[in-house]
C-alpha cells in the first residue's frame, strides 16, 4: 500500500499537545483542584450489603450534627436514569433495594469532609438482606429473587445472530476447535479519581465542573434528575486525568453533587476515594466465551460460533452495547461468511460494568486470536499465513452488514512480520522463549448514537474578529488523548495559519456546541471532520472578500504560511491579518460552523441489535510479542511488543504513537496482571497497591509502527488510534507463551499459577499416553 502524499504544513507533523505547558507546570486545573468560596464537601453513604431491601433510612441524627448543610436520599432524586434509553434502571440513591456492595444510599454536604464523614456514620439504614447472585452462569438460571423484578432470570439482555450458514461451514471444516475462555474483570484505573464540583448559582442555575469524558451525558442526566431544563445547567469539563471509558457513563458522584448543591443552595464538591473509584468503576466485565471455529486445509475460516456471557453487575449501564460489540466485531477484520453469535448480558449483585478501552471486543478477540493460533498449529500452517488467507477484500460489506472502507490490516501484518524477524523466530526459539502474534481492530466512532436520531454527532463553531485570532468552539472532550491538539492542527492547516493563532475552547456547555463525547474512538473522525467543514466554511468567506479585492476568483486563492495569495504566487496576495481585515469589511465578525453526521451507508443492518458495531471506518492492528517464560516459577517476562496500527493517517504522529503504546500497555496489564478479585460481592483488591497495573519495571519495550491506509471519509484520511491496538496484545502474549513452553492458557490474566498448572497437566498427559515429548514439551526437571 502506498502512502498518501503529504504536502501538508501541519497535518502529519509531530506536535506537542496544546495543553502540555499547563500539565508540566502543575498549573492546569483538574476537577479536584477547583474550589470556590463557601464550598461544602460531600460524602456518599454506600450499601454494605450486596442485595438488601431498604426498609427505612433515618437521617435525623445526621441532620442535627453541627456543620451538616444538606442530606439527600432517593426521595430527593427519584428520576431513574441510565446511559441507554432501554436501561433507565438506576436512581442516584437506591430507594427500594441496594443491589451491590457500594450501591449509593444517601449523601451529605457539610462544611468539612470530616463532618460529612461523621454524618454518614449517624445515618441509620434498616436493611433486609436478600438472596445474592454472583456467578453469571448461575445467576442466569435464577428462578426467583431476581435483582430487578422486570428482568426475569437476571438476564439484562440477550441477542442471537446468525449470518450465512454456520452449520454448513462447520461441515466444510477440516479442523474444528472448541474451547471455553475466561477473562477476569478489569478496570480503567485512570490516575485521577472522579471529582465533581456543582455550584448553585444565585440566579437558580447550576454550574457543574466534573471529571467526565462525555459532558453531554452528564448535562442530559443532571437535567433529568434535578428536574431542571438543560438550558439552566452549565457543564464545564476541566482537565481530565484519564478516562479509558470510566468517565463516560454518568457516575453517581456527579449527580449526587448536583442534587446536594440544589438542596443546599451552595457549591458542593465530592471527591471519590480510590476505593470508591474501584466500586463505581464500570469497567470490562468478567466474560465467558464458548468459541468454536472451523478451518479448512487451505487455511480458510469456514465458520465461527460464539456464545458470550458477560457479568454485568447490578444495573444495565452500557451492558447491551458491550455484549453486542462482542458479537459484531467478530466481523470487519477477517473474511468470515458463516457466523453464529449468542450473547448474554447477565445481572449479578456486583458493581456495574460498562465501557472500557476496546469496549466489548477485547475478551472475545483474545479468545478468537488464541484459537486461530491453535488451529494454525493443528493445520500445520504459520499463524501469520492463516491470517493472510482470511483477509477481507476491502472496500466491502461484511456478512454482518459492517461497511469496511479502508483496510490496512495486510500492511500491518507484513510490517510486524518483517520487523519482528518472525520467520527466523517462530517455532525456532529455545524452550522458555517464544514469539506470538495477533490482530485486532476497532471502530472510529459509532455510526449510531445511543439515542437514535438524525442529528449531527458533533458541531464545531468558529469566529475570527479584529484581532485575527481564530477561536474554535468545540464540545469534543480532551481527556489526555490529544483531541484539542488534533482540532487545532486541522483548523490551522485549512486556514493556512500557524497553530499559535488558534485558541480552542472546549466543553463549556454555555459556549460550545454539543458533541457526543470521547467514547468509541469517535473524536478524530467526527470532530475532525466537523473542524474541516467549519474551517472550509470560514476560508470561503475570507477568500470571497480577498478575491474581490484582488480581482480574481475565490478558487484561484490558497491559504498557507499565514498568507492568502493566488495559487503558486506566495509572495503576492496579503497576510492573513490583512485578509481577515478585508473580510471584516464585508461581513463584520466572521463566524462559521461545521458538523459531522455518519453517512447512511455506514449505519449497518436492520436486524435487532444491528445498531452496535457499525462505524464510518475501522482501524486495524497487528502485533508480535516476544516472551521469556520461567517454567520453574511460571513467571512471564514480555521482552518486546511490536505493534503496527492502521490509523488511516497520523494527523499527529507523536500522539498516535502515545495512543498505540498506551493501548498495548493496558493490554499487557490485562494479559498478565490485572484482575478484580471478588468475594461475596466485596472487592478484595480495591487499591492500586493490590490491583496491580504495570509499572516501569515490568512494562515491555513497545515499538509502534504507524500504517496509513488513508480512509476515503476520514479527516485527511484519518481513523482511530486510541483503542484498536489493545485487543491484539493479550492474544499475542498468550500465543507467545504457547510458543515458549507449549501450553495454552485460556484464562486471563495469565498468572504463574495457571502456567505451572498447565505445565504439570501437560506433563501428566504426556507421560500418560506415552507419547514422545515434542520440541516444546518440558522435561520433568523443567516443569518442576
Amino acid at each position: 500500500m502506498t502512502k498518501p502524499a503529504n504536502n501538508y504544513r501541519i497535518i502529519g507533523k509531530p506536535m506537542a499537545m496544546t495543553d502540555a505547558r499547563a500539565k508540566v507546570t502543575g498549573l492546569g486545573k483538574y476537577a479536584d483542584d477547583l474550589s470556590v468560596p463557601g464550598m461544602l464537601f460531600g460524602k456518599i453513604l454506600h450499601s454494605p450489603h450486596p442485595h438488601a431491601r431498604i426498609r427505612s433510612i433515618d437521617t435525623s441524627q445526621a441532620e442535627a450534627l453541627a456543620g451538616v448543610k444538606a442530606i439527600v436520599t432517593g426521595q430527593d432524586a427519584r428520576t431513574p436514569y441510565g446511559v441507554l434509553p432501554i436501561g433507565h434502571d438506576e436512581q442516584v440513591f437506591a430507594t427500594d433495594k441496594a443491589r451491590y456492595v457500594g450501591d449509593n444510599i444517601a449523601s451529605v454536604a457539610a462544611t468539612t469532609v470530616e463532618i460529612a464523614e461523621q454524618a454518614l456514620d449517624l445515618i441509620r439504614v434498616d436493611y433486609e438482606r436478600l438472596p445474592v447472585w454472583f456467578d453469571p452462569e448461575i445467576s442466569m438460571q435464577a428462578a426467583e429473587n431476581w435483582i430487578h423484578d422486570e428482568r426475569p432470570h437476571n438476564i439484562e439482555k440477550e441477542y442471537h445472530h446468525v449470518f450465512g450458514d454456520p452449520d454448513k461451514g462447520f461441515e466444510q471444516a477440516d479442523f474444528i476447535a472448541e474451547e471455553r475462555y475466561y477473562a477476569g474483570e478489569v478496570t480503567h484505573a485512570a490516575m485521577e479519581p472522579h471529582a465533581t464540583l456543582a455550584i448553585w448559582e444565585p440566579d437558580g442555575r447550576l454550574t457543574v465542573y466534573s471529571s467526565t469524558q462525555v459532558p453531554f451525558y452528564l448535562h442530559r442526566t443532571a437535567a433529568e434528575v434535578c428536574e431542571m431544563p438543560m438550558s439552566q445547567i452549565r457543564v464545564i469539563k476541566p482537565l481530565i486525568g484519564g478516562g479509558f471509558g470510566g468517565k463516560s457513563e454518568v457516575i453517581p458522584i456527579e449527580i449526587a453533587a448536583c442534587v446536594l448543591a440544589k438542596k443546599a443552595r451552595k457549591p458542593v464538591k465530592i471527591l471519590y476515594t480510590r476505593e470508591e473509584v474501584f466500586y463505581a468503576h464500570r469497567g470490562r466485565p468478567i466474560t465467558i466465551v464458548y468459541l468454536k471455529v472451523g478451518l479448512n486445509r487451505a487455511g480458510k475460516i469456514t465458520a465461527v460460533q460464539a456464545r458470550v456471557i458477560q457479568d454485568g453487575g447490578a444495573y444495565c449501564g452500557y451492558g447491551p452495547v458491550t455484549v453486542l460489540y462482542s458479537g459484531a466485531l467478530l466481523g470487519a477484520i477477517y473474511d468470515i461468511e458463516n457466523m453464529r453469535f449468542d450473547g448474554f448480558r447477565v445481572l449479578t449483585n456486583k458493581p456495574v460494568c460498562g465501557a472500557m478501552r476496546g469496549h466489548g471486543t477485547v475478551n472475545v478477540r483474545f479468545a478468537f486470536e488464541a484459537m486461530l493460533d491453535q488451529l494454525a498449529h493443528e493445520a500445520e500452517l504459520d499463524p501469520i499465513e492463516v491470517r493472510r488467507r482470511n483477509l477481507l477484500k476491502a472496500p466491502c460489506i461484511t456478512a454482518n452488514s459492517l461497511r469496511v472502507t479502508s483496510y490496512g490490516l495486510p500492511e500491518c501484518i507484513e510490517r510486524v512480520y518483517e520487523r519482528s524477524r518472525w520467520k527466523e523466530k517462530k517455532g525456532k526459539l529455545p524452550f522458555g522463549k517464544g514469539i506470538g502474534m495477533a490482530c485486532s481492530h476497532y471502530v472510529s466512532g459509532a455510526a449510531n448514537p445511543v439515542v437514535r436520531s438524525n442529528m449531527p454527532h458533533t458541531t464545531v463553531n468558529m469566529k475570527i474578529d479584529r484581532d485575527a485570532g481564530v477561536t474554535v468552539y468545540t464540545g469534543a472532550a480532551e481527556i489526555g488523548q490529544g483531541s484539542d491538539t488534533m482540532q487545532v492542527q486541522i483548523v490551522a492547516e485549512i486556514l493556512g495559519v500557524s497553530t499559535d493563532r488558534i485558541n480552542l475552547i472546549a466543553c463549556d456547555s454555555d459556549v460550545t456546541p454539543i458533541d457526543l463525547g470521547s467514547y468509541s474512538s469517535r473524536v478524530t473522525f467526527m470532530a475532525g471532520n466537523a473542524c474541516i467543514s467549519a474551517a472550509q466554511n470560514m476560508r470561503e468567506q475570507i477568500f470571497a472578500a480577498v478575491a474581490k479585492k484582488l480581482g480574481c476568483g475565490p478558487n484561484e486563492l490558497e491559504a498557507k504560511d499565514n498568507r492568502v495569495s493566488k495559487i503558486g504566487e506566495v509572495g503576492n496576495g496579503m497576510t492573513f491579518d490583512e485578509a481577515v481585515a478585508t473580510a471584516l469589511d464585508f461581513h463584520g465578525a466572521l463566524v462559521a460552523s461545521g458538523t459531522y453526521t455518519p453517512p447512511e451507508e455506514s449505519r449497518g443492518g436492520k436486524f435487532k441489535g444491528a445498531g452496535v458495531g457499525p462505524s464510518p471506518a475501522y482501524s486495524y492492528s497487528a502485533q508480535t510479542a516476544e516472551v521469556t517464560v520461567d517454567a520453574e516459577t511460571g513467571q512471564v517476562r514480555v521482552e518486546r511488543i511490536i505493534a503496527a496500527h492502521d490509523c488511516g493517517r497520523a494527523l499527529n504522529p507523536l500522539t498516535v504513537e502515545g495512543q498505540i503504546e498506551g493501548s498495548v500497555y493496558m493490554g499487557f496489564g490485562q494479559a498478565l496482571e490485572e484482575d478484580m478479585v471478588w468475594n461475596e460481592g466485596r472487592l478484595m483488591n480495591p487499591s492500586l497497591l493490590e490491583y496491580r497495573i504495570p509499572s516501569t519495571k515490568e512494562n515491555p519495550e513497545i515499538e509502534s509502527i504507524i500504517v496509513e491506509s488513508g480512509d476515503p471519509e476520514g479527516p485527511f484520511g484519518a481513523k482511530e488510534a486510541g483503542e484498536g491496538s489493545l485487543a491484539a496484545t493479550i492474544p499475542a502474549i498468550a500465543n507467545a507463551i504457547y510458543d515458549a513452553v507449549g501450553v495454552r492458557i485460556n484464562s486471563i490474566p495469565i498468572t504463574p499459577e495457571k502456567i505451572l498448572n498447565a505445565l504439570r497437566e501437560k506433563q501428566k498427559s504426556t507421560q500418560g499416553d506415552g507419547a514422545s515429548a515434542s520440541r516444546k514439551s518440558p522435561s520433568v526437571g523443567e516443569a518442576r
Binding site: 499537545m17 490516575m191 507523536l654 487499591s687
Partner: protein, 166 residues
Amino acid sequence: MNKELIRLRVNGEEREIAVAPNRLLLEALREDLGLTGSKRGCDDSSCGCCAVLVGGTPMLSCVALAASYQGCEITTVEGLGGSGELDPIQEGFAESGGAQCGFCTPGFMIAAKALLDRNPNPSMDEIREALSGNLCRCTGYMQIFEAVRYAIEKMRHKSGAAVRAD
C-alpha cells in the same frame, strides 16, 4: 483536633500555616498553600502522583505529616524551572508526549528530577528503576522514557559535560 502554627519552606519560600497535627503534607500543599500541582491519585502511597522533593529526595506527600516537615527544603512541581522557564525535564515531558492526561506527570517529573540531580547520565535500567514508584495509565511509559532522555540531552548540551555512551 487543635490546630497549630507551622512553618514550611516550599519552593524557596517560607510559609506559615495553621494545621491540625494529622494534616498530611499533600493536604497542606494543595489546600492550605494553593499548590494543587501535586495530585492525590490513591490513598495508600501506591501511585506516586503526590511526590515532592524533600531536600532533593522524592517523598510521597500523601503519607507525610505536614508538621513533621518544618525546616525542610520542599520542592513541588510548581518549583521546577525558573520564572517562565521550563526545566529541561518539563520541556522533555511536554515535547516527547510524556504527559498525556498529565495527572501523573508532576510525580514523574519529581522522580526524574531526583534521579538526574544525583546521576545526570543514567542507564535505561536506572531510569526504569527510578521511575518505578510512579504509575502512569496513559503512555505505556515509552514516551516518558523519551522525555527523560530529552532532558538528559538538553542538560548535557547546557553543561557541555561528557557523557558515556549507553
